[in-house]
């Protein structure tokens, strides 16, 4: 298929349809409203469901209901909206339903601003909602990668019967880039008759299915959480994804950066190379599970003197980087937020400062 020039938000909407997800519920919020606008027009063309809910709280539960009934479903939102959906995300994880959430992050806290940020790292990776749950979180660095991640998100959500989040900063949603939609990633919803409330007649069964997260007996709740934990442990084994840049040879510093930020870091690394300074980079594509081993090994290289976590936030991922490096090298953070994006020149300066 030929490449088309598309805005990230619209490409995300189209990618979900191409992945076989014909159910979309959403509430408008900047900077991702274009997804809803695109799908309001597009879903009827493919006989899909488009519904604008009355709030992000309600939308979260529309997803829960639809996912519980065994249908492929997704929503898109931005930071404050995702805070409101986090209650439902906790319930969906607890009830083990597959659903895909896209967060086009804007600056926070509170109403913050509407410009790109990576300030929701903690929210998506460390919780957001209550209780012991995890989401599989993927962070695209281009519109093309956002498309691919959205399309992979559905089979992954179904594999683990767990919410999957695409964590894109506002730039991913707003930027126009050429994209190609891979047809081969399309997949049919997995077997759901064992658990979904799709109606006993539908699955020709005399046994009812329950979709719930309530376990009043302490032993039962502990066992339920152990089961959930085993899925998160399996994600750590099977789903870690990252990309290395300029990390084959020796380097004096290692940058860890994700999303749009990593593209600025690439430019800085290229300029530094011209000056004779080698800097490697690990770009996590999944932020949960986090590429701990890859970062630890990359940081442990003989000449590497420092590890820099460069983020569009006040230092969130840096805590995971520290955890991965395990004291082997000093770990430093550099970043900006609120819509300010560190420039290649700033990054070059920061690298030099620490060498």
């Amino acid at each position: 298929m030929a490449k088309v020039l598309m805005k990230g938000n619209e490409a995300i909407g189209e990618a979900a349809i191409r992945a076989g997800c014909l159910n979309y519920f959403a509430y408008p919020i900047t900077p991702q409203s274009e997804v809803a606008e695109y799908l309001a027009r597009r879903m009827p063309e493919v006989n899909g469901v488009f519904l604008q809910g009355e709030s992000e709280v309600a939308v979260g539960y529309m997803l829960f209901g639809a996912a519980g009934a065994g249908e492929r479903v997704f929503t898109t939102s931005s930071s404050p909206g995702v805070s409101l959906m986090s209650e439902a995300i906790s319930y969906i994880a607890g009830a083990q339903c597959p659903a895909v959430f896209v967060n086009i992050i804007r600056g926070g806290p509170g109403l913050g601003g509407i410009l790109p940020s990576q300030g929701d790292y903690f929210q998506s990776v460390k919780g957001g909602g209550h209780g012991d749950y995890r989401m599989l979180v993927m962070a695209p660095a281009s519109v093309q990668e956002a498309v691919e991640m959205v399309m992979t998100a559905f089979p992954l959500a179904e594999k683990y019967r767990n919410p999957v989040m695409i964590l894109g900063d506002g730039l991913i949603g707003q930027m126009m880039e050429p994209v190609e939609f891979p047809e081969h990633l399309r997949s049919e919803p997995s077997k759901k008759d064992d658990w979904a409330t799709n109606g006993m007649d539908t699955r020709k069964s005399a046994t009812r299915n329950l979709v719930k997260s309530l376990y009043l007996d302490p032993e039962a709740l502990n066992n339920h959480n152990l089961l959930l934990k085993s899925k998160y442990d399996r994600m750590k084994q099977e789903e870690v994804r990252y990309e290395s840049y300029n990390a084959e040879g020796e380097y004096q510093a290692l940058i860890v950066s994700y999303g749009t930020m990593s593209r600025v870091c690439r430019t800085a690394i290229d300029h530094l190379k011209e000056e004779g300074i080698e800097v490697g980079m690990i770009r996590p594509q999944t932020v949960f599970p986090f590429p701990e081993k890859a970062i630890h090994e990359a940081a442990s290289k003989e000449n590497c003197r420092v590890v820099l976590s460069i983020e569009m936030s006040m230092g969130q991922m840096v805590e995971d980087v520290e955890r991965a490096v395990m004291g082997k090298r000093p770990v430093k953070w550099y970043g900006k937020c609120g819509g300010e994006v560190p420039t290649p020149e700033e990054i070059i300066e920061v690298v030099k400062e620490h060498l």
Partner: protein
């Protein structure tokens, strides 16, 4: 001679956890009978609330989802939109539907979502131990209004059926009770009507059922029935507040 009285197939064969004198059991049975009579158990999905009926999924032998507090109408919307062929009902109390879930029920009703909400109104939070609800009567003592509900500070009880029937969208909105056999029969008819409208893909339906809570009211079951009749029913009048036929008649005359 065959059995003349048995448990509906739509109910499981277990004892409920409800208190003596509570009317949840009667309402469960009516819903079960209606599901049986319409022959829809195999395509019905119930949604349990947070409240005394949180474990309702243990008592119905059809598919069930367990919602967060107040969110059942949003979940029902999600199911109904992606699977319009399924029959979906929510079963919610007054804390769940009229307090924390007021936004969800109003918007579901206003969108005309084709599911049935069964709204059990007993003027108090049951499961959490008898706190004041939006439907608590003026002067009624609860654990969070120990001197009686002060309407200066907390307003008047919300009449949900009237509130929802004020929406311009077509719907079936009715209030019934189960404190006497004749009322029980009427409630069953209302439930059957509601499920039938849903089956026909016609409209949103809400059956409010004025109920008793002897435990949290601090009364005997008989006194609770008497108090319902004397105090609740004058404020929460019974009857149909809106039917789709009326809406059709209005639009035909327009």
């Amino acid at each position: 001679m065959g059995k003349t009285f048995q448990k509906p197939e739509a109910l499981t064969d277990v004892h409920t956890h409800y208190c003596p004198g509570c009317t949840h059991g009667v309402i469960h049975r009516l819903v079960g009978e209606v599901i049986d009579e319409l022959g829809i158990r195999g395509r019905t999905v119930g949604i349990a609330p947070v409240g005394c009926a949180v474990l309702a999924y243990n008592y119905f032998s059809c598919d069930f989802q367990e919602a967060a507090h107040g969110r059942a109408p949003a979940m029902a919307t999600g199911i109904k939109r992606v699977r319009p062929d399924l029959m979906v009902f929510t079963y919610q109390g007054d804390g769940d539907l009229a307090s924390i879930g007021m936004g969800e029920i109003i918007h579901a009703a206003n969108r005309g979502e084709k599911f049935t909400a069964i709204f059990v109104n007993n003027a108090v939070y049951g499961m959490t131990g008898g706190q004041m609800a939006p439907t608590t009567m003026p002067g009624q003592r609860t654990t969070t209004s120990p001197l009686g509900r002060n309407t200066e500070e907390t307003g008047m009880p919300i009449r949900v059926a009237e509130l929802l029937s004020s929406l311009a969208t077509e719907g079936y909105i009715t209030r019934q009770t189960v404190i006497k056999p004749k009322f029980i029969n009427r409630t069953k008819k209302a439930l059957k009507k509601a499920f039938t409208y849903q089956m026909e893909g016609r409209c949103f339906s809400l059956v409010e059922v004025v109920s008793t809570c002897p435990t949290n009211w601090g009364m005997t079951p008989l006194d609770a029935i008497k108090w319902t009749e004397e105090t609740l029913l004058p404020y929460f009048p019974l009857g149909d507040f809106k039917t789709p036929e009326e809406a059709e008649a209005v639009s035909a005359n327009a």
